[in-house]
Amino acid sequence: MMGTASLQFVAYGLACAVLSNLHRSLAWRQFVLLAASVIFLGFFSLNPAAYLPLAGFLVFGYVCVRLVQGKYRRLFVPAVVLGIALFVWLKKYTFIPGGLFLQHPYVTLGLSYIFFRVMHLIIDAHDADVPERIGVVSYLNYTLNFTTLVSGPIQTYPDFARSQLAVPPLPLNLIVIGHALRRIIVGFFKVNVLSLLLNMAKLDALESLTSGGPSGVRIVSGAIVAAIYPLYLYANFSGYIDIVIGLARLMRIELPENFNRPFSSPNFLIFWNRWHMTLSNWLKTYVYNPIVISCMRRWPSTRAEPAIVASAFFITFFLIGVWHGQTSEFAFYGILLGLGVSVTKLYQMYMTARLKRAGYNKLARNPLYVIVARGMTYTWYAFCMLWFWSNWSQLHTMAAALSPGEMTAVWALILVVASVALAAWESTRQWLLSFEFENRPWLESRYVRTAWCTALLVIALTTVSVLNAPAPDIVYKAF
């Protein structure tokens, strides 16, 4: 099996990029992408029967798109409902009786992201936002594209078609190749070094938290356990996205960005505009906006607006939680996310009403307010994430290791450290970017980036080689 951000994956992607560029014709590029995606899927099971449910879902999606796009627009609602039901069933959500599931093992890799793509196609086909008739190969390349199959980003079909189906294809010169390689190297470093170290630190802290010890040690360990996961996930996920954006660009496909400095966000709403951006955009387009529009039509009063907006946010983010996993922990995670965004929105509306827009804007720009708000955003996200990476039993074990007072101290510590550290990071970044060379920040010069990427590559390759070489053992010394 090929790790999704491993050296093998990068090598595979680079080989596919080379093949894809052997000929500039659309047919060749379509063929290479399809073959690469099918072969990539093939790494996950050698049993053809294991792919049947996934294949069935893809066939269902394609048939629905064609029907809804054609004469059978009335099938739109049943298609959407059936699509959701199929997804929930294939993903084996725990609220469904186990006896109803398929009993043989099957591949669900990428199903969550395929679901978004298929739903988007059905909805946009109904709304005539996908003008052209989608061919089978384009459909399969869009849904199975190996660079976005496992963890996104979630691209819209028109966006995908703009680069993949472009004639002539997107340009690929040395500078573009350089930028693509830089993304791959930075991503590879984030996944294989940064996230690895963060995960090791988290596991150490977790062990220290649950193995007793003085109160101070447990408080610090608890704070590390809770606070480190968002950083770990960021390094891991955004690193993976960096790699696939780079690889796809080498295949002349432009993928959307998925992260934009999320931890700089001064509130939870802005955070979600910068974290897993393609997911939040999808849900904003297909869940949040329809809910708000239909509710506003039904209850047009401005007094109902805060409740409608807050409820729409809550539902949208609850669905984000539920989409991430099949168990009750993810439902609770969704509730916490929903609470975070809806309370933030209500607070904004309340403060705007109280201070007027100018007053609230002034407050929101106050440096101290921004520092604390940024820290609170990070702290709340770290709190929500507890239900994302652990289960009830682990949560109970962690909670049992701390008294209520110590738990309060843990979250206070996270808030203070996050506020200070993120403020320090922002200031340092601004300071570093203030140095200019050839009318551009010195840090963004080609030479600095080349040196930087070389350094990251050396560190990443060293780490990967150590972690793939045989473990050291006693070496007899010849004196």
Binding site: R440, T462, P470, V475
Partner: protein
Amino acid sequence: MSEPATPEPDAGGRLSRRDYWLLPLVSLLTVIVMFTITEVSTRIAWPMDEENVCAVPTGNAEGYYFKTNCTARFKNAEGPWATYNYNDCGYRSATSCGPVAPGTLRIAILGSSVAQGLDVPYEDTYYDIAAKELSRRCGRPIDVQNLGKPAASPIYAYRKVQEALKLKPQVVLLLLAPFDIEQRIDPQALADRNQPEKPVSSNAVHYEMSLMRKLQSLILGSRTLLVAEHYLLQDRETFLRLYMNYGDKADFLRVPFTPAWQQRFDDMNLIIGDMAGAMKTAGVPFVVIPVPSRAEAALLSAPHRPPGTDPAAFGHALEKIASDHGAAYVDLMEPFQNTPDSQNLFLVVDGHVAPAGQKLIADHLVKKLLDGTVPELAQCAGATGSQP
């Protein structure tokens, strides 16, 4: 920390002519500067000097011996500086190998680097800690003569039995770690174990290193790499995953034993049997002590062991051999199992037992030696002495 959401500023431009050579040069210089800085700084922060000025080549399979009354000081990168005093017999012992004063009890130790307490200052070795504790409990001096030698095979330990018995010890300890018997004993050497050592061909020692080999040696000998390994492999799961990738080398952790490992235990059965016989004849208690490796300790601490593995299998095999030949046995698995994350009691890359692990071994050894195995020590079993 994050990637830009805006297009690259010069994506549509052209690479200037100078950049065709300047960018690769920047890359190359970065690698050279990084390597130099990290190598120099890690060599300063993690000094290493493993030249043992007391080791003298013998020209036979024994390899080398230690000069008598010689002192060497060297250091493994991961461990502390340690002084090695070799006494009048060339043993790493604080006292003379001559006859002991009346009332003094003597312990002789056989084995390899683990037996000798390599990479650890003398006062932190398991045998010095144990000797001091036994002396305190018994109210009489305990003398230790350590005949252990790094890289010594079990055959070497066997050849030292008569030398050890001449020291008139009250007990002889044989310490064995899995890597001591990992190299299959040459059947001819096993058959000739009672014959004098044969000289080895000098041709085998001298060879020219190719450039590639020199480069490989430079990279593998890199202190930066060692420090990276030290930190990355502190993680138990990572270390175990990599260790279990070994085939034959790690098969002492897998049950049932492979034919190759069964053969090694059969060889040990012969050697330990002969050693036990000699001890019995001399009337000296003989104790076999399997010392866990870092891999065994990691497996002992792991919440979930890979199927088909048993960290105690090596110890149990030696326990059976020892009991079959009437030798005593110290089970060190128990204290290592009772210590959380006992893999941390070893030097991560080097693999030898660190000072904390030496203390654990010493405490358990004291208990065992007081349980009646050594008649002269049995009388001290009830004494608790004054705890430091």
